[in-house]
Structures are given as structure tokens and as C-alpha cells.
């Protein structure tokens, strides 16, 4: 049953632990006799290792081993191809190119590729020894520049990535008003505060303990088990807390497997923590993408045709794909739509999903183009969107399960003060600064996967919840607590959640804005099962509620009572005692989209972003001076952590819009701004007061809570809102992120 009241704002259940040091992150764990591993990366982007001198490193103080392609410890499971995306070694590219096997070959496939892993008794000694490894290379000409290799684009396999069209794909060409525009986004790197790495130690011949930085402990467990051909039960993976993931922990990276192998070889636990510099090349990134939008509209502001082509980069050794053009297929009411998505293999490390993934890339293009067209049509950008609003999903020809975007537009417009916006670009001035307003929409698929949860209700009224899900920061533990509270009425301070460990009941990895829906459903189901057991017990002979119907009973604050008459009640403790039980212990499996309803509806979360910017036309400096984000993502389970997630989306969105760009010097195939002084994530001074608004209406179909994800939509579209505001402020349209001062001065 969907809860029909809004949830109260409770504090983050692990907040105190996080700010007092009680929450332990992977690198803080200790295993006896741990050794430390440091990676030496390739200095070229393509070629072969001609020579590798490890003698000096091997002889350095404290060194326990220098592992290269000449002496890598065996990884038996890698001899055979492993299926599935994201874990273990990749299955190899469709074109049949070289597979990437860490330390298994002298071929160099990308800059930074590990050529040696140096292990010593202390981190400092390993670091020093690593600096003594000397390599020479036979270089080959590399290709690292997407824009110079666009013609190599291939359409990835799979129905999701096939060319799409409905109606007449060329209809935009003959529309009364047309727009053609190219948009590019640069390489962005996740850069959570916590560096990536792993701590692994073998606790038996075929048993290993792994403290990882993963968004899914079960995925890492599987990857390790497959790599070493051991039973999954013998691989114990722990990631309770993560100092930010943003997608980089959605696979088990090859160097993690190598660390497990090295730990087995030297007979000691091994800890690896890569450097900030290595975060650019070893753990993925948001790929650069070049996009073209063609749009045609009639004089009334009705879309006639829309076409969206995107080309993004991947590695030569593995395909990486994402939903860059997805939003264009269903966001607006337009009869003639076509999309194309291609990837270009380059001599680079492979990308990985980064918050909002491809949809954030695509939304920058689509939502910028919507603004450009609105300007051409002399329509308010919101009005233009309303004229092309759709209540049914035009891609799948079915209704949305829940969509309140009109309300979101209105609420956001009111909050930012949209009526202050001047339609004429460059006409709003405050002293030396130009003021502009911009808006955009975002959307991301909402779904529900399968998960298992356990609930243990104790006689003292406390409740323990367990699920293996990792909380990467959005407040999963808090949401689980709230859902259990809503079903069982146990006060939130009496609920304990345990998560982030492979020994706990199965959960998918945390990614794609699915966990509140997926794990939340399992928690809801197991708590409902506990409730049923209680009401069944309460209605049996010998209790004050004997003979009543279980369905008429409520569970709250340690008692089972009658809905209509709260004086008739029985304590949970008494019920357990009577049944000779110390606890009520239930485990339930919640299946994925099993309801037929879920095939009848298209399920999406939606967002709207509004910003006010100030632009100094003399220096080209852009500052976001106000931000409003509105989330339409069903029932909000935890209002505080939801707001926090939205603010994080704004901070990330400002980075994407204004500052973030990983720069490669293509002459060398190397990143040149590979540190946090030169790669600019937004700092506090860049992020203004942000107003977060939630529609907070339950989706009637998706899950028992009516809740949908919001991690991705908090970012998707935001960069376009900034670009649109910059246009409104200056009349300058920047289609190439990030919008740095040089670009405004160049086009001035």
C-alpha cells in the first residue's frame, strides 16, 4: 500500500559517525602484516615495453616484490573470457582488438596503464621504490583525440544503442523554423574526495577478505571469485562507507584483481591506494562527446522534427556505452524524431558511468537546443516546453506512470523569480555585471530491481535491518530506516541498519538511481512480513486482540493495536514471550518489476533546474548567483538526505557547466592538468545558496513506497540551465563545456 502522507525530515542515521570518524572507509581498515602497493604507470599512450628495469626497485629498502608482465602472479579465471559487463576482465571489443589484461602483456593500450606494481612493507618505501622502476618503450602513433577520429565512430551492439527513428526523420529540414547546432562536452573525471584502491588479504588457501571501494560488494565478490576460480562464499567483500563514488565504483578495476593476486603470492595482505594523478587514468571518466541537434518547429512553437546525433569516446580494448541520446526519444511531443549514437575507440583507458551518465551529456545538447529554438521563436523557454509537453511516452506509446513536470516548472519559476528574466539577451545589467536567467529539464529512467533484505525485531522493540547494499553517500541507510519505520512503527532511533558487506542479503550495486526503489522494496516487503507475523500472533487465542482480523491491526511504538480503538493493544515483547521467541527474524526477496502494471507504464524521474548567473563581460567570468532545483521523483522517503543529494547535484552541475575539463595533450596522449589544483571541481565559493523543491507525490505503480530515484536527475540538465542563463545574460551561446572566461572573451 502506498503511504499517502509525506515523510518527516529525519537526520542522516550515520551522520554522527561520519563527522566523528566512526565511519570506516576501506583504507582505514587494517589487517595484520599488511604490505603496501604502488603502481607505476606507462608514460606513453600506445606501443610496447622495450625494456623494464626493476632491479634497483627490487633492491630498495623494504621491498617485497616488483610485479610486471614478466612475473605477474597467476589469475586463473582470466584465461577464459568472462561474461557480463563491469566486472573482472572485459570480454574484449567487438572488433576483436587487443584485450586488456593488467600486467599480462608488454603492450601499452593507454597512458597510465600499470607496467609495474611495487610492494613494500610501508607505503613510503613502496612509493620510493616505484620511482626507481625504469622503462623504455617502442612507441607507436596513438589516437587520443575524439574530434580527429569522428569518422571511426561505430554503432554499439544492442537495441538500446541502435539508430532510432519515428515518423519522418528528415521532417525538421522543411520546418518553418530550423536549428542546427553542435555541442561538445570534455572529459570529466569523478574525483570523489576518497582516492580509489583496495585492501585484500588471504585468510585461507582459497579464502580472501577484501576491503574495497566499490558501489556493489556482491559485484566485487563475483569478480574476485571468477578471477581466482573460487567459491563466491569464500570471498568476503566489505564497503560500508564510501567517500564518494559518482559511478567510478561500478566495476571491479583490473588493478584490484592484481592486488588480490599479489597478496596471495606474497602471503601478506596488500593495500593499494592510487594517487590523485592516477585517478585520471585508472578508474574511468565521463567520456568526451560531440553532438549535433537538428530541430524544426512551426510558427506556433510546436516541434515538427528533432534529430540528435552523438559520438563519444571509448577504449580500443573495450566498448563503453551509455544513454546519451535516450532523453530525446521521449521527452517532448514530436512526431518525427531520429537519434544516432556512436562510439570511437581511442588509445585511452576505458570510461565509466559518471553521475547522470550519458543522459547528462545528452541533456546538455537537447536542453540547450530547446532554449535556442525558444529564442528563435521569441517564446519563453518554459512556454516552448509546455507547447511540446507530453503526457504519454512517445517512444513507447504508453502513459508515464507519474509525471508532474508542469508543476515542477511552475514551482521552480516562482522560486527563482523567473518573471525578473528579460527576454532580450544582454539587457539586464547590475553595474559592470550582466544578469541572466536560464532553465532546463532533466529525466532519468526509474526502475525497481530485485533485492533481499532481512529484518530482526527484538523483544525490546529494537529492529535490525540488513542488506548488502553499499551506501555511497546519498543516505541509503536513512531511507531504509524510514521505510521500516513507516511499516512497523518502530521509532527511528530504535532501528539499526547494517549494509555494505557481502555476507549480508543480496543487493544490486548502488548506481543508476535505483536503490531506494530496489532495496527499499525489499525492506518494505520484509517489514510487512514481520508485521503480518505480529498481527497473526496478536489475533490468536489468549491475547487481548484474540479473534480480530489481522488486517484491522496496526503496529506502532512496540505495540499491536486496533486501528479504531487504540486502547486495545498488546506489547510486541509479550507476543514474542508467549510464542517462546526472543526475536522475529524474517528474510524476504523482493523481485524486480514483477507487476504487470510496470509493463504498462513508462517510469521516469524528472527534474527542472533554474539558475541566475552574473557575467562580467570585461573578464568573461561567470558566477552562478542563485540556483533552484526541483525533483519530481515520486514520494520522497528522506527529505533531508534528498535535499542534500540535490545540492550535490547543483555543485556537480556547476562544475560540469563552468569549470571541469580533463585536458589531454594529444602530442603525448597524456593528461596535462592531472591534479586537483588544475582540474577544477567547484569549490564552496562557486556554489550559491541552493533552493531544493520536491514535488513529493507517490508514483502509484513503481513500488510500495511510490518512491523513485533522484541521484541522476539532480545533475541531468543542470549544465544546460547555466549555458542558457549565460546566453540570456550576454547573448553569447556557448556550446562547448565548460563555459570558462576565455570562451566568452573569444566569442565576444
Amino acid at each position: 500500500m502506498t503511504k499517502d502522507t509525506k515523510n518527516p525530515p529525519i537526520d542522516r542515521v550515520d551522520g554522527r559517525m561520519k563527522v566523528t570518524g566512526g565511519a570506516k572507509y576501506f583504507a582505514e581498515f587494517e589487517m595484520p602484516n599488511t604490505a603496501y602497493c604502488v603502481i607505476v604507470g606507462s608514460e606513453i599512450a600506445k606501443g610496447t615495453i622495450a625494456s623494464l628495469d626493476t632491479k634497483k626497485a627490487a633492491g630498495a629498502p623494504g621491498v617485497l616484490g616488483v610485479f610486471t608482465h614478466q612475473n605477474v602472479p597467476p589469475i586463473p579465471g582470466w584465461d577464459a573470457p568472462v561474461q557480463g559487463n563491469g566486472n573482472g576482465p572485459p570480454p574484449g571489443p567487438p572488433s576483436g582488438g587487443e584485450k586488456y589484461r593488467i600486467l599480462h602483456m608488454n603492450k601499452i593500450l593507454f597512458y597510465g596503464q600499470p607496467i609495474a606494481m611495487v610492494v613494500a612493507d610501508t607505503f613510503e618505501r613502496a612509493t620510493y621504490a616505484a620511482s626507481l622502476v625504469k622503462a623504455t618503450y617502442n612507441k607507436q602513433a596513438h589516437q587520443t583525440d575524439l574530434e580527429k577520429n569522428l569518422e571511426k565512430g561505430v554503432t554499439p551492439k544492442g537495441p538500446r544503442f541502435a539508430d532510432y527513428s519515428r515518423g519522418n526523420a528528415d521532417a525538421y529540414k522543411s520546418a518553418p523554423v530550423t536549428l542546427e547546432a553542435n555541442y561538445t562536452i570534455p572529459i570529466e573525471v569523478h574525483h570523489p574526495m576518497e582516492l580509489h584502491g583496495v585492501l585484500a588479504g588471504w585468510t585461507g588457501d582459497d579464502q580472501v577478505m577484501v576491503y574495497a571501494k566499490t558501489q556493489g560488494v556482491k559485484g566485487t565478490q563475483k569478480a574476485v571469485a571468477e578471477a581466482f576460480k573460487i567459491d563466491q562464499k569464500n570471498v568476503h567483500v566489505h564497503t560500508e562507507f564510501m567517500g564518494g563514488g559518482f559511478g567510478m565504483g561500478l566495476r571491479t578495476w583490473p588493478q584490484e584483481i592484481a592486488v588480490v593476486a599479489i597478496a596471495r603470492k606474497i602471503g601478506r595482505p596488500v593495500k593499494l591506494m592510487i594517487t590523485r594523478n592516477q585517478m585520471f587514468s585508472l578508474v574511468g571518466y565521463r567520456p568526451k562527446a560531440v553532438q549535433t541537434i537538428n530541430m524544426g518547429a512551426d510558427a506556433n512553437g510546436k516541434l515538427v522534427g528533432l534529430s540528435h546525433d552523438a559520438t563519444a569516446e571509448t577504449a580500443t580494448y573495450e566498448d563503453f556505452t551509455e544513454g546519451t541520446v535516450s532523453m530525446t526519444k521521449f521527452m517532448y511531443d514530436c512526431p518525427n524524431v531520429s537519434t544516432k549514437y556512436k562510439i570511437v575507440p581511442l588509445d585511452r583507458g576505458v570510461p565509466i558511468w559518471m553521475r547522470g551518465p550519458g543522459e547528462a551529456t545528452g541533456a546538455f545538447a537537447l536542453e540547450s537546443a530547446m532554449d535556442e529554438m525558444a529564442h528563435k521563436l521569441k517564446l519563453d523557454p518554459i512556454e516552448f516546453r509546455l507547447r511540446n509537453y507530453t503526457e504519454t511516452d512517445p517512444e513507447h506509446n504508453r502513459p508515464y506512470s507519474d509525471k508532474n513536470l508542469k508543476e515542477a516548472y511552475q514551482k521552480g519559476a516562482d522560486a527563482i523569480g523567473w518573471k525578473e528574466r528579460k527576454a532580450e539577451p544582454g539587457s539586464n545589467r547590475d553595474g559592470d555585471w550582466l544578469i541572466g536567467y536560464g532553465m532546463s529539464s532533466g529525466t532519468f529512467n526509474a526502475s525497481k530491481g530485485g533485492a533481499i533484505a532481512r529484518a530482526v525485531l527484538n523483544a525490546d522493540g529494537t529492529l535490525l535491518l540488513q542488506c548488502s547494499v553499499t551506501d555511497i553517500g546519498p543516505g541509503t541507510g536513512t531511507a531504509m530506516t524510514m521505510i521500516a519505520h513507516n511499516v512497523l512503527g518502530v521509532p527511528v532511533e530504535k532501528i539499526k541498519v547494517e549494509y555494505g558487506d557481502s555476507a549480508l542479503p543480496n543487493s544490486p550495486q548502488q548506481g543508476g538511481s535505483t536503490i531506494t526503489s530496489t532495496v527499499g522494496s525489499a525492506i518494505h516487503q520484509v517489514c510487512t512480513s514481520v508485521k503480518k507475523a505480529l498481527t497473526d500472533m496478536a489475533t490468536q487465542a489468549g491475547t487481548p486482540l484474540a479473534g480480530l482480523k489481522p488486517g484491522d491491526l496496526t503496529v506502532a511504538d512496540g505495540f499491536v493495536s486496533v486501528d479504531a480503538d487504540s486502547s486495545k493493544k498488546v506489547a510486541i515483547g509479550d507476543l514474542l514471550k508467549k510464542a517462546n521467541l526472543t526475536t522475529l527474524d524474517k528474510t524476504e526477496e523482493s523481485k524486480g518489476s514483477e507487476k504487470p502494471d510496470q509493463q504498462k507504464y513508462s517510469m521516469y524521474s524528472f527534474s527542472v533546474h533554474f539558475v541566475q548567473v552574473r557575467v562580467n563581460p570585461a573578464t568573461g567570468v561567470v558566477r552562478v548567483s542563485k540556483a533552484v532545483s526541483v525533483a519530481d521523483s515520486g514520494r520522497i522517503i528522506s527529505p533531508k538526505t534528498a535535499a542534500s543529494q540535490m545540492i550535490g547535484g547543483v555543485a556537480g552541475g556547476i562544475g560540469m557547466a563552468l569549470t571541469e575539463e580533463a585536458v589531454i595533450d594529444h602530442r603525448f596522449g597524456r593528461f596535462v592538468n592531472n591534479n586537483l589544483a588544475d582540474y577544477h571541481v567547484s569549490v564552496s565559493a562557486d556554489v550559491p545558496h541552493t533552493e531544493t523543491i520536491v514535488i513529493d507525490k507517490p508514483d502509484p505503480y513503481i513500488n510500495p513506497m511510490g518512491a523513485k530515484g533522484m541521484g541522476e536527475i539532480a545533475l541531468i540538465g543542470f549544465a544546460a540551465a547555466v549555458a542558457n542563463a549565460v546566453f540570456n545574460a550576454t547573448g553569447q551561446r556557448i556550446r562547448d563545456l565548460p563555459i570558462t572566461p576565455d570562451k566568452l572573451l573569444r566569442t565576444a
Partner: protein, 327 residues
């Protein structure tokens, strides 16, 4: 990072004596740049002489102005009453630099000694004439968005990264140093040097010389000073362009003026010609624009940094407008 010796000294004499004649020994003050350089393998001293226990952190009035000890922390200088009152340009420039944590560690002398932030200088696998003379300049023809438009050479187009030094060069500071051959004073504008054919040398210090203090002469600029820093994000970023402007006004007439720019050259760049032009002129946007054009006379872009040819003169005008409160 290599293994190195670490010694502490408590007086300048011992510090100077501890420096050997080759380049293998270095002074360590706040360490906010040197430690990074060692971690990246750019610098590998065999010995570090920790000078932070030498009592050189006082800020005091002198007969002609203010003397700031070389080991005074950036934060202490920026927040010092006499600095804020008499040399607000210096406070503003310091506060525009780095982050509070770094300013709490970094010293005045260390700030002057910091190396360029050019990416090619920091990556030992890339060519860089400053790090390894003769290997070429990676930034020419490469990623040079942050690089010099004035005073560069075909060997090096790196810029000096300091904000503080822009204020000091504008305010006619003098650097007092002590070395094996005794003490001497260096006008601030002659402390840093242009790259020419020897970009490995950032400054004119002789081997073994230690910065003792910086002297600032009194001036009449306190009422009309502004430090403008144009950067990619609102805090914690090096300048694309920065301008230090300090003026003495008589009504709307510029009696005297000091102008310097950062983010444009291998050294803090004083705009002497523009200053000469402005003296005696009215504070109007038109005059400022003319001064800015004079300042840019020999400027040259290297591709990605061509925007600075627009941003720099615009910033000079903006800084002068703000300093003179000209609408």
C-alpha cells in the same frame, strides 16, 4: 620522493652554512610548494634545511615604512593591522591566493620562491627547459592556456604564479638577503627574472643566499587600491590574469599610480609605461583604456592563451575603475 637528510637550524648563519655549493641542499620553509615538487619528482634535494625556527617572522614599522620577516606566514601578513591600514593591496593579493590552509603554512619568502605551475614543468615525462634544460618547451604548441603573453622566450613561456608578489612589485618593495658573501638588498622588480635562454633560473638569488625580509616604503595609496584576480573558479585557482592597482588621487586626478600584473609573465610584471601615462591624467574609463593599450604593447599570444590579449587590458581597466571608484 627520494630519501633525503633533514636538518633544523635556528639562525641565519647556520642556515647559510648548511647549504652546500651544488644544488642538492635546499631551504625548507612552509613547504607548500617544495614538498609537492619533491612528491612529483621535479626536485630531489639530498638535504633539506628547515629554517622555520629562525626568528624571522616579525612585522614591524621602520623609519621609512614596514619590514616583513621572510618567515611571516601569509595569513599573518594579510591580517596584520599595519598591512591592512597602509598596504591594503598586499592584504587583498594575499587573500586572493591559495586556500586558508595553505596561507596558514606559506611564508613570505617561500611565496617568492615558488615555482611555476606549468603542467609540463610538473610532469617529468614531458619536455621542459625549466626543469631539464635542453629538452624543449612543452607548452609552446601545447596546453598553454595559463601561459605568458609578455616577456616570454622561445625556451619558456611559463608564468610566475604568485599573487602576493604582484602587490610587492607594485608597492616598490625591496628584498633583503643574506649569503656567504654578506648581506645585500634587491629591488623587488629585479628579484625575479625573465626566462631568456636560462629558464631554469627563476630569480637572481646567488647560491646559499637566504631571504631575510621584505621592506615596503610608505606611500599614499591606501585609499585607492585594488587587486583583481580573474580565475576559472571563485576560489583556489591560479590567476588567468591578475592586476594590482594602487593610486594616489587628488580629486579626480591621478597624482601617482602603481600597476602590476600577474598571470602574464615569468615574473611579476610591473606596468611602468602605463603608470607614466596615467600620472596627472583624470581617472576616466577612456584614460584607463589608453593605459591598458600601452601596457599591452609587446604582448603576444601562443594559441590557447590568445584570450589573455583581451582579458589583460580589460582587467587593467576594471582594476583601475574599482581602485578609483570610477563608475
Amino acid at each position: 620522493m627520494n630519501q633525503f637528510q633533514y636538518v633544523r637550524v635556528t639562525n641565519p648563519k647556520a642556515a647559510i652554512a648548511a647549504i652546500t655549493k651544488d644544488n642538492t641542499t635546499m631551504f625548507l620553509a612552509g613547504g607548500t610548494n617544495l614538498i609537492d615538487l619533491m612528491k612529483r619528482g621535479v626536485t630531489a634535494p639530498e638535504k633539506l634545511v628547515d629554517i622555520t625556527r629562525i626568528p624571522l617572522n616579525t612585522i614591524e614599522k621602520t623609519a621609512t615604512g614596514l619590514r616583513i620577516g621572510a618567515l611571516a606566514k601569509n595569513t599573518a601578513v594579510a591580517e596584520h593591522e599595519l598591512v591592512m591600514k597602509n598596504f591594503p593591496l598586499l592584504s587583498m593579493a594575499l587573500n586572493a591566493g591559495a586556500s586558508p590552509q595553505l596561507r596558514n603554512m606559506a611564508t613570505v619568502g617561500g611565496n617568492m620562491m615558488q615555482r611555476t605551475r606549468c603542467s609540463y614543468f610538473y610532469d617529468t615525462a614531458m619536455p621542459c627547459n625549466k626543469r631539464e634544460p635542453g629538452t624543449g618547451c612543452g607548452a609552446i604548441g601545447g596546453y598553454n592556456r595559463m601561459h605568458a603573453i609578455l616577456g616570454a622566450s622561445n625556451k619558456c613561456i611559463a608564468v610566475h604564479p604568485s599573487d602576493m608578489c604582484i602587490a610587492l612589485v607594485a608597492l616598490d618593495a625591496t628584498v633583503n638577503v643574506a649569503g656567504p658573501k654578506g648581506e645585500r638588498s634587491i629591488p623587488f622588480g629585479e628579484f625575479h627574472r625573465l626566462p631568456g635562454d636560462t629558464p631554469q633560473k627563476d630569480n637572481t638569488l646567488q647560491p646559499g643566499e637566504l631571504i631575510m625580509s621584505v621592506d615596503l616604503p610608505m606611500n599614499g595609496f591606501a585609499g585607492n587600491s585594488h587587486y583583481l584576480k580573474v580565475r576559472d573558479r571563485a576560489s583556489y585557482a591560479f590567476a588567468l590574469i591578475s592586476v594590482g592597482a594602487a593610486l594616489k588621487m587628488s580629486g579626480n586626478t591621478i597624482q601617482d599610480v602603481r600597476l602590476a600584473m600577474g598571470g602574464v609573465a615569468h615574473k611579476p610584471w610591473r606596468l611602468t609605461e602605463a603608470e607614466k601615462f596615467l600620472k596627472g591624467k583624470p581617472a576616466t574609463e577612456a584614460t584607463f583604456k589608453q593605459a591598458a593599450q600601452i601596457a599591452m604593447k609587446s604582448a603576444k599570444g601562443y594559441g590557447e592563451n590568445d584570450f589573455k590579449l583581451t582579458m589583460a587590458p580589460n582587467s587593467i581597466v576594471e582594476a583601475l575603475k574599482t581602485a578609483t571608484k570610477t563608475a
